[in-house]
């Protein structure tokens, strides 16, 4: 045996290895293919040998050949052999080869399952690693199913190296075997908080990939990601998370509000361009998602635009490109803010990089206004001249036309100018876009009546100079414009000054070289012209001239009669005969002009594309009614979806089978949802970006009254530039006039409407030279003037609008939600009920309110049902298994999850309110990070508190009715389309129905929590207090309880570098007391400091968090500590030190926890609590401010508020209940408090007192 090995090894010395192969190929450049085929023969020989080393060598060479494009799948079995070698070296070669050439169709893959499993559980981590890497490339559904469990186990491997690989590969496993997602998800989620940054990053990666495809299901993770975002320093992870948020915000605008603040912070603080860019991008996404209801984000937009400007101005082309790309996103919703950077964009048109120029062009499209259109187009025309003979020029041409014609020529104030531009564009040689120019000419000439005279003159000149355009006809697309020119001249020939000359121009022999369809138009319109000329001559009784004209036609037309083009020939011969007949009549001195003209009488009217829709339905006509009896109902429903009417008119359809269908529908919806959930790639209706440049609005279709201040006559070929000057002059004049008028007028009237840009050059002030208004022209009579059809009913933003309205109308009619106003934690102005009791609520008014909002929801659901119906019907057949068990199983988890989602969905208002106020962030330290914690914190506690009243089933669900279902469905991943019996199905459905019902009610509640009735906005508040400060550095801190661990608090410290030097190697150390200890990493001594995980450039601030463990929380205490750091400037570096005292107040052990009023009452009745009270004199602030302060600074939540009396609740990290009853009268506030721990309560009250003594 040993001998054999040795022999094999010696043989091998004479074999080629990979390097020899490569060298050989390089030496056989001329006959490479032949050389390689001999090599492959050798490899085949080598693979036949027993020696694994030889085989591995051969496989290695095959991998190389595979890269060169040779099919090596024939060696798949040998690759498997090499993979199963016990030696790492060979194993790795085998796995590499497999990863390069195995795929789902490779049949030997099924032989590998056990080998891979063995490798995965190998004691050698590198074997495992190699197997994971390989598997990630060729995992099949079978492998995924068989190995999912093994990989799951590896996710908790001791070595981070394996953990991160196992986490990452799970994504591939999910793809191939979706059923694994549900069981694996909790662990995956856990890995988001893995101590190893690599593992964490991998988990983020996987979840981001999953969420990107199906964001709705991952909304519940938002709080967790939010926490990661505010704590992570790994840019790669941050980018991923921020991108994920970008995908989530369209689904949940409130999330967006919350995000703006930390994102802006990041934008300010990060030095990594990639991170900055992604932040800006997500802020834009947020702003887009908010744009409907939030007017006050100008600061954020400005910030984004500013930062983008920096990117665009950068010399790095990549940044420039991305900057422009992001800019175009802002443009869609906030065109004004981009428009101010026009100069910059125009500059980019000169860039040497074509892709940048194209981006800039895209931007220009959205930036034009009435004011600057001419100027921009002029710039573009210059570029057109410069770009001679490139495809870029064509791009420019189409852009010019796009820009001018957008929104029904909305921005064109002077159509003569536009026609001139079009005519100028015809001078471009070799463009492919002749037809585009032509169609514009036709469109304008037909629709803008007042311009016809001018247009006809221009077209006549064009026809006259046709030879210039037709240089080489074959490739030249520009001759298409002659089509338009000929038609316009013919159709509107009454405007021609010299029709005879044009007629002659149209009948030149050269015309015969034009493409057929153009000749056809020529011939036809020559006839029209002929009619005009005849009429003219007969009017002047110049029969001689009339006869000459006929003769001209008779002479010239035969050329066209010979045309190879059928249409030309047909028209020409027809007209020729006609003219001959006319000539005969003329010779008899018969007046024919009138009859000839009659041939072409009648005007062509443009019709708006939506005209049909605008016709009101006559009374008594029911479009939805059946014309014939519907097909019999006994047919099996599976076939029905084919019936067109059933799909389009679901209401009718349903009304006929209400009983059955209601159930059916619900069931089908369920089925469909589960199916979607099963499919990790089910892509929900994408939140398409808002359509701003929508289809042409009917209002602006042109009908023109000429402003006579513009001199009409421009002789010869026009130069569009003239119009620029004219326009300037005109505007000047108008302005002057207006000023005169304005002096007379009182200013008041202008007041509000123009507040935004009251400058004299504002958009509205520019009166177009041509008033454009078509409605009456292109619309049928008595068309409805509504323009609602311009809105896309599926527009997600519109849908969201409705939702918000719903919330409010259920509560009060004020248009703004509290969250936009309050910089504090939420008040609960309404009695908070646990949802269980809510059903049989006693308070009547509340009941009605709820009803109304419920009703609305119902309605909405109905609509949704209708929409989904058709889809559902198709899927109807698919049934599910295990549903019931699943449902039971998943319920507890579900309850918690939805709780969490709720919290995320209705984020505490503290931070988001300030979101709009950028200045506030900039001036003070970042607003409390409480939010992150808060969102996760209270949910479970709340659930426990109210558990007596609320079964898990009736846990508050998400506030939006569509969401709970989706979230839920995601929990049911496991069931895949398998058949089941109807009965079970129905039962399940009932359960679900039940569930939803309560869910909705609860959801309603939780939303109302978020509303508040204050009129005045509160002053900004911050929980951060000064820790220590010297000339180099300032530290502020805030302490937050940690709900997950009853003995931990998190101290967030913001370090601000006040010096001009660089601060680094910061070390944070605290002298532990018996009660409180700083948590240090494993292996660190009890007196070691913690390194602050960042450095501070001058003027920058950043936040670090330190975890402390505490034993007793009933007493406040102070900890002494020291911060040491190195100050590094250009010349020197010094070691500095700063002492501080950390004050752990009792307040910091409290966690804001919502409490229902009934649970609260029970708590007070129980008698376990001990009381204490406090009086505050001379409090001079509104009651709601007072409450807000208590909520904010002391982590309470309002349970109930009646006039000047409110009950409040909070909970300590160790579960102590703290209840307050706050009353106020005449500047005196009395607080009665109860708590199960008297000393804690005493201290908290002291602290509250202190808070108010300060102000």
């Amino acid at each position: 045996m040993a001998l054999k090995i040795v022999k094999g090894s010696i043989d091998r010395m004479f074999d080629k290895n990979l390097q020899d192969l490569v060298r050989g190929i390089r030496n056989h450049k001329e006959d490479e293919a032949k050389y390689i085929s001999t090599c492959i023969d050798e490899i085949k020989q080598e693979l036949k040998q027993d020696n694994i080393a030889v085989k591995a060598n051969a496989v290695c060479k095959l991998t190389y050949l595979q890269m060169l494009g040779y099919d090596v799948s024939w060696a798949a079995f040998n690759i498997v052999e090499v993979m199963s070698s016990s030696k790492f070296t060979y194993k790795r070669i085998g796995y590499l080869a497999a990863s390069q050439c195995f795929h789902e169709g490779t049949d030997v893959i099924m032989l590998t399952t056990n080998q891979i499993r063995k490798d995965l559980s190998s004691p050698n981590q590198y074997d495992t690693g190699v197997a994971l890497t390989g598997l990630s490339c060729f995992v099949t559904p079978d492998l995924a199913r068989d190995l999912a469990n093994d990989i799951m186990t590896l996710m908790s491997h001791t070595k981070p190296y394996i953990r991160k690989k196992a986490v990452l590969i799970m994504y591939k496993v999910f793809l191939k075997y979706p059923e694994s997602l549900r069981p694996a998800f909790p662990r995956l989620k856990e890995k988001l908080e893995d101590p190893d940054p690599g593992v964490q990053s991998a988990a983020v990666n996987v979840i981001c990939e999953l969420a990107r495809r199906n964001p709705k299901n991952y909304l519940s993770l938002a709080p967790l990601f939010f926490k990661l975002m505010t704590s992570s320093t790994n840019n790669w992870v941050l980018i991923k998370i921020i991108k994920l948020f970008g995908a989530l915000t369209p689904l949940e605008p409130r999330l967006g509000k919350k995000l703006i603040e930390p994102l802006t912070n990041l934008i300010h603080s990060t030095s990594a361009m990639s991170l900055l860019y992604e932040c800006v991008n997500t802020v834009i996404a947020v702003l887009i998602s908010l744009s409907s209801g939030m007017p006050n984000h100008s600061a954020s937009i400005q910030l984004c635009v500013q930062k983008l400007r920096i990117l665009i101005e950068d010399s790095d082309q990549n940044l420039k490109y991305l900057g422009l790309l992001a800019m175009s996103k802002i443009l869609k919703t906030h065109p004004k803010s981009v428009q101010s950077h026009k100069d910059l964009i125009l500059q980019c048109l000169d860039d040497k990089d074509e892709s940048i120029r194209l981006r800039a062009l895209d931007l220009l499209y959205g930036m034009v206004s009435k004011k600057n259109l001419m100027e921009i187009v002029k710039k573009l025309m210059l570029h057109v001249d410069k770009a001679e003979g490139t495809t870029y020029r064509d791009e420019l041409l189409t852009k010019i036309i796009d820009i001018c014609s957008q929104s029904n020529y909305q921005y064109i104030t002077n159509f003569e100018w536009y026609i001139s531009i079009l005519v100028e564009l015809t001078r471009l040689e070799g463009t492919r876009h002749g037809h585009l120019i032509a169609s514009q000419m036709l469109d304008v000439a037909i629709r803008v009546k007042a311009i016809r005279g001018f247009a006809v003159a221009q077209m006549a000149t064009l026809l006259d100079n046709a030879h210039l355009l037709t240089g080489n006809t074959q490739r030249n697309g520009i001759c298409e414009v002659l089509y338009a020119a000929a038609w316009i001249c013919g159709e509107f020939s009454e405007h021609l000054e010299d029709p005879m000359q044009t007629l002659e121009a149209m009948l030149r022999p050269k015309v015969a070289t034009l493409p057929g369809h153009i000749q056809a138009v020529y011939v036809q319109n020559a006839a029209k012209l002929f009619a005009t000329v005849l009429q003219k001559h007969e009017g002047e009784t110049d029969s001689q001239a009339a006869q000459e004209t006929s003769q001209l036609l008779i002479d010239r037309l035969p050329l066209f009669v010979q045309s190879a083009n059928l249409e030309v020939q047909e028209r020409a011969s027809c007209i020729l005969q006609l003219v001959k007949y006319i000539q005969k009549l003329q010779q008899k001195n018969v007046e024919v002009a009138e009859e000839v003209t009659a041939l072409f009488a009648g005007e062509l009217n443009p019709v708006a594309p939506k005209a049909q829709k605008k016709v009101p339905i006559p009374e008594g006509l029911d479009l939805d009614a059946w014309i014939n009896e519907p097909p019999s109902e006994s047919e099996s429903e599976d076939e029905k979806p084919k019936v067109v009417f059933a799909k389009e008119e679901p209401k009718h359809y349903r009304s006929r089978h209400t009983e059955v269908d209601e159930k059916e529908l619900a069931r089908r919806r369920e089925v469909r949802k589960q199916e979607q959930a099963n499919n990790p790639f089910y892509i929900k209706a994408s939140p398409s970006s808002q359509k701003v440049y929508d289809a042409p609005g009917v209002e602006h279709i042109p009908v023109v009254q000429i402003d006579l201040s513009v001199p009409l006559k421009v002789p010869g070929m026009p130069m569009s530039d003239q119009y620029l000057k004219l326009e300037e002059e005109r505007r000047q004049k108008e302005k002057a006039e207006r000023k005169k008028k304005e002096k007379k007028k009182k200013r008041e009237k202008r007041g509000k409407g123009r507040k935004a840009d009251s400058g004299p050059e504002s958009e509205e002030d520019i009166t177009p030279a041509h008033q454009v208004d078509i409605v009456t022209e292109e619309m049928p009579e008595n068309a409805l003037p509504s323009d609602d059809d311009d809105k896309d009913p599926n527009d997600p933003h519109k849908a969201l609008d409705i939702d918000l309205d719903n919330l409010l109308s259920g509560f009060s009619s004020r248009p703004l939600a509290d969250s936009e106003k309050l910089p504090v934690r939420t008040h609960r102005p309404e009695v908070l009920k646990s949802p269980a009791e809510d059903r049989d609520s006693k308070s009547v008014p509340q009941e009605t309110k709820k009803k109304s909002s419920k009703e609305k929801k119902e309605k909405k659901k109905d609509k949704e049902k209708d929409r989904k119906r058709s889809k559902e019907e198709k899927k109807k057949k698919k049934k599910h298994k295990e549903v019931e068990e699943e449902l039971l199983e998943s319920q507890p988890e579900e309850a918690v999850q939805s709780e969490e989602t709720k919290e995320a969905a209705a984020p505490p208002t503290s931070t988001s309110a300030e979101a709009s106020d950028l200045d506030f962030w900039l001036s003070s330290a970042p607003v409390p990070p409480a939010a992150a914690q808060e969102v996760t914190a209270p949910s479970s506690a709340a659930a426990v508190d109210t558990s007596s009243a609320a079964a898990p089933e009736s846990e508050p669900d998400e506030p939006k009715d569509t969401e709970p279902e989706d979230t839920k469905s995601s929990k049911h991943k496991k069931k895949k389309q398998k058949k089941e019996k109807e009965e079970k199905e129905k039962k399940k459905k009932k359960r679900h129905h039940h569930h939803h019902h309560h869910g909705d009610a609860g959801g309603e509640d939780s939303v109302q929590n978020g509303t508040v009735e204050e009129e005045e906005p509160l002053p900004p508040m911050s929980n951060y207090s000064l820790l220590a400060e010297n000339s180099y550095i300032k530290m502020v801190y805030d302490i937050q309880g940690n709900h997950q661990d009853e003995s931990k608090v998190v101290v967030s410290v913001i370090f601000e570098n006040k010096s001009d030097s660089f601060l680094k190697s910061m070390e944070f150390n605290v002298l532990d007391s018996l009660n409180s200890k700083l948590q240090r990493p494993e292996g660190a001594g009890p007196h070691d400091g913690l390194t602050v995980p960042f450095q501070l450039p001058p003027g920058v601030s950043n936040e670090a968090r330190f975890v402390f463990s505490v034993q007793s929380i009933v007493m406040p205490q102070k900890l002494k500590g020291t911060l040491t750091f190195i100050v590094k400037s250009d010349e020197s570096s010094t070691h500095e030190k700063l002492d501080f005292k950390l004050h752990f107040t009792c307040t910091s052990y409290l966690i804001t926890t919502p409490c229902y009023s009934d649970a609260y009452a029970k708590l007070l009745e129980s008698g376990d609590l001990k009381g204490s009270s406090l009086r505050l004199e001379g409090i001079n602030m509104p009651f709601h401010h007072l409450l807000a302060r208590i909520c904010f600074h002391h982590h309470f939540s309002v349970v109930e508020r009646i006039d000047s009396c409110a009950s409040m609740y909070s909970r300590s990290i160790q579960g102590h209940h703290v209840c307050l009853l706050v009353k106020t009268s005449d500047q005196t506030v009395s607080i009665d408090a109860k708590c199960d721990e008297p000393s804690l309560l005493g201290n908290v009250l002291d602290e509250i007192k202190q808070t108010f003594s300060k102000c």
């Binding site: 090894s9 010696i10 010395m13 990979l18 390097q19 490569v22 060298r23 390089r26 080393a53 991998t63 190389y64 890269m67 060169l68 494009g69 040779y70 099919d71 030696k87 790492f88 070296t89 790795r92 070669i93 590499l96 390069q100 795929h103 789902e104 050698n124 590198y126 994971l132 890497t133 990630s136 490339c137 995992v139 991160k164 690989k165 990452l168 590969i169 994504y171 591939k172 690599g198 990053s201 991998a202 996987v206 981001c208 990939e209 790669w236 980018i239 991108k243 361009m273 990639s274 992604e278 082309q317 990549n318 940044l319 420039k320 490109y321 991305l322 040497k352 990089d353 074509e354 892709s355």
Partner: protein, 162 residues
């Protein structure tokens, strides 16, 4: 997701190709050729992103590349990746190669494609970024090499190849 990682030289000769989705060998070659075509005609000093549909999967995907001396490093990615992030990643990749091969040049890649693959496998796994920290990547690569050396038998006489 990263769809593919391609390295080819100024003449379009592939030096490494890693596809994270399955294509036939022929299609792979076509993709490499097409990519080379798109990338090579771009001037230096213009932006390193390309949009537009390709054989490799429609306009969803972007090509992000860097050009070093004789080699193009091209990553084909979808919209979930950050453009600038990937550019940095390419830089990390090249720097890692530079460390592992000590002053890397095209020849290193030509003769040691397998090693390049192994290094890449420590950075990107199945189309997802595994590690971005260069020292961590190098540590793992070296650990692998050590493993390999410890397994060396007499027959593996060291060769100096270039």
């Amino acid at each position: 997701m990263i769809k593919a990682i391609l390295i080819f030289n100024n003449h379009g000769k592939p030096r490494l190709s890693k596809f994270y989705e399955h294509y036939t060998e022929d299609t792979e070659q076509q993709i490499i050729r097409e990519t080379f075509h798109l990338v090579s005609k771009r001037d230096e000093n213009i932006c390193n992103f390309l949009e537009g549909g390709l054989l490799i999967g429609g306009s969803e995907n972007k090509l992000i590349y860097r050009h070093y001396a004789t080699l193009y490093f091209v990553f084909c990615v979808d919209s979930s990746e950050s453009e600038l992030g990937i550019l940095d990643l390419i830089q990390v990749f090249v720097e890692t190669l530079d460390k592992c091969f000590e002053n890397v040049c095209e020849l290193d890649l030509i003769f040691h494609m397998d090693k390049v693959h192994n290094i890449l496998a420590e950075m990107v796994m199945g189309g997802m970024v595994l590690e971005t920290n260069m020292s961590e990547i190098i540590t793992q690569a070296e650990a692998h090499n050590k493993m390999e050396k410890s397994e060396t038998f007499i027959f593996q006489c060291p060769r100096q190849d270039r």
